[in-house]
């Protein structure tokens, strides 16, 4: 898929996120929107997966360690065809399989249940180790929040992955700089994030704009070429990206838009979509 198509998909993922969280009347739009390019690139370009066979043994695995960004994961899974897009409207509803946080038992395409911060990365490390033990070639990806780095377990897992040189593991940090109580560097600074992962023997890739699909692509290509060490991609992103009134606002970490805000948000995303369509026209695509 070319870059423009990926950008269009990312915008669709954002529309799904806003629609799902609005329908749920609760949830976490901010960190889901900041990760839209990462989700899109992973599921439409990077990972070896088959939506018609979600349990395929040799598939690449993804663990959403920042489990509260579930609307982002569900949106890309629906967009990729793992389940009907209409089901996103049942997010967080009683009886729906789309639980507030990822549930591997009931959601096609979810490789690991998560939600309690700091734990997903350990499971991802276990999966990467598992492939190493049995000589399998699949790769494992896990997405963490920057606030999540405050959990000590992240560094237990990183120490292990670096020590074991798990080069089939890619840790991505969605560095949107905001957590519930404010800016991460005001609450309890995780910086310098890059040097921390380097100290744990990771190959570190810094992405200046993690909402730029070209930069995301370059980072994953570099990760794939990296041998002898796990990779950490530190992607600077904008929380709430794409919805003007949500951008860079900690208040939109875990709040659903009301009907009026939903209308405004979808208008913003439609405008972005139209711009991308025009860009396609100009490129002659």
């Amino acid at each position: 898929m070319d870059i423009l198509e990926l950008k269009k998909k990312a915008n669709e993922v954002r529309r799904n996120i806003v629609t799902a969280v609005h329908a749920a009347r609760a949830g976490h739009p901010g960190g889901a929107l900041s990760s839209a390019e990462i989700f899109t690139y992973l599921y439409f370009e990077e990972m070896n997966i088959d939506p018609s066979d979600p349990h395929k043994a040799d598939r690449d695995r993804f663990v959403l360690s920042k489990g509260h960004s579930a609307p982002g994961l569900y949106s890309v899974l629906a967009e990729r065809g793992y389940f009907p897009k209409e089901d996103l409207l049942t997010l967080r509803h009683t009886g729906s399989y789309l639980q507030g946080h990822p549930d591997m038992k009931h959601i096609p395409g979810v490789d690991m249940s998560s939600g309690s911060l700091g734990q997903g990365i350990s499971a991802a490390v276990g999966m990467a180790l598992s492939a190493r033990i049995s000589g399998d070639s699949y790769r494992v990806y896990t997405l963490l929040g920057d606030g999540e780095l405050q959990e000590g377990q992240v560094w237990e897992a990183s120490m292990f992955a670096g020590h074991r040189k798990l080069d089939n593991l890619v840790v991505i940090v969605d560095n949107n700089n905001l957590q519930i109580d404010g800016a991460v560097d005001e609450v309890c600074s995780p910086y310098p994030i890059d040097r921390k992962f380097e100290a744990f023997n990771f190959h570190v890739i810094r992405v200046e704009d993690g909402n730029d699909m070209e930069q995301i692509q370059k980072a994953f290509e570099e990760a794939r070429r990296t041998k002898g060490a796990p990779t950490a991609i530190i992607a600077k992103t904008l929380k709430g990206k794409g919805v003007s009134f949500m951008e860079n606002k900690a208040g939109w970490h875990g709040k659903a838009p009301n009907d009026e805000e939903y209308g405004l948000a979808m208008k913003d995303l439609e405008a972005i979509g139209e711009k991308l369509e025009k860009a396609g026209g100009a490129d002659g695509k």
Partner: protein, 313 residues
């Protein structure tokens, strides 16, 4: 009992793993810098490439075990009960219990029989913690024979299992040809009609001794070995409650939340029966040789007899 062979169930755990490693190619063993103590070192000698030392990081070890299980391995995650069930409780609950992953937790050094290390390392709360997790099987074998059978059964079982082992060498009491282990099935070791002693783990052996002592005084106690705390053999317990009218539970664990609580919960529904719970009475342990501590806290045959006599007066 003194002339019986004695083996610590942690030894049985290591030996069973080394044996099962031959049969199950996808069996992997994790430890957190305690392989010599938990006896997973026995497995490590046989299958070094399938033994993973995670370093002193139990929470991460449990998460790694979850990832291994999610990709088709049968991981046994090993540490002291205090750290496996205590420190990593939330990881066990969320990364193993909630997704019902096929992880086995081999927890050694449970209870006060840890001895000299003292209260910080003597976990008397693990059964309470583990049995509160939906879908978790909780096994607490009484001797070498049962411990090895429990590890094999855990390996066959699909889903999370918590196995509790001890540091102290305990008498082998199940070395009979017709011994059969089945998850969820209690074992009646001694018939009797005056009361039923329901025991688990290393307290089974002491309870048998206590029953012999009580018999000399004309009190005929039935003794039931509950090696599976969850799922509990309610049928066997209800039958015993109906037939003997009185139940005493004995465990090397807090009287809050362990075997005693589980038995009370089971009986209160159908056959409300007086139940006296013997165990750690809402207190921490302390340093000392294991046998002395078991004596001090009333978990040897003498202490069990004393409690029962007092209760039955």
């Amino acid at each position: 009992m003194e002339n019986k062979k004695k083996i610590a169930t942690r030894e049985s755990y290591g030996n069973a793993l080394a044996e099962l490693g031959k049969k199950y190619e996808n069996l992997v063993v994790l430890d957190a810098d305690l392989a010599e103590a938990t006896k997973t070192s026995t497995f490590k000698k046989a299958f070094p490439e399938r033994h993973i030392d995670c370093g002193i990081a139990e929470c991460n070890m449990v998460g790694i075990a979850a990832g291994l299980a999610a990709t088709g391995k049968i991981p046994f995650a090993s540490s002291f009960a205090m750290f496996a069930a205590g420190r990593a409780f939330e990881q066990v609950r969320n990364a193993i219990g909630y997704p019902h992953l096929n992880v086995k937790i081999g927890a050694t050094h449970a209870g006060i029989s840890v001895g000299e290390d003292g209260a910080s390392h003597q976990c008397n709360e693990d059964i309470a913690l583990m049995r509160s997790i939906p879908g978790m099987v909780v096994l607490n074998p009484s001797d070498d024979v049962e411990a090895k059978a429990a590890v094999a059964a855990a390996c066959e079982h699909q889903g999370p299992v918590y196995l509790r082992f001890g540091r102290l060498a305990v008498p082998v009491i199940n070395d009979r040809p017709d011994y059969h282990f089945e998850i969820g099935k209690g074992v009646t070791l001694r018939e009797g009609d005056d009361l039923t002693i329901v025991a688990t783990g290393l307290c089974v052996s002491a309870s048998l001794e206590a029953a012999e002592e009580l018999a000399k005084e004309g009190v005929n106690a039935r003794v039931i070995n509950i090696h599976t705390i969850k799922p509990l053999d309610e049928e066997l317990l209800v039958k015993a409650a109906k037939e003997t009218k009185r139940i005493v539970t004995v465990e090397e664990h807090s009287v809050i939340g362990g075997l005693g609580s589980a038995v009370c919960e089971a009986l209160s529904d159908t056959v409300p029966t007086p139940v006296h719970r013997i165990g750690m009475k809402d207190t921490f342990g302390e340093s000392g040789p294991a046998a002395e501590l078991l004596h001090k806290y009333g978990l040897d045959a003498e202490g069990i007899c004393r409690e029962i006599r007092g209760w039955m007066k």
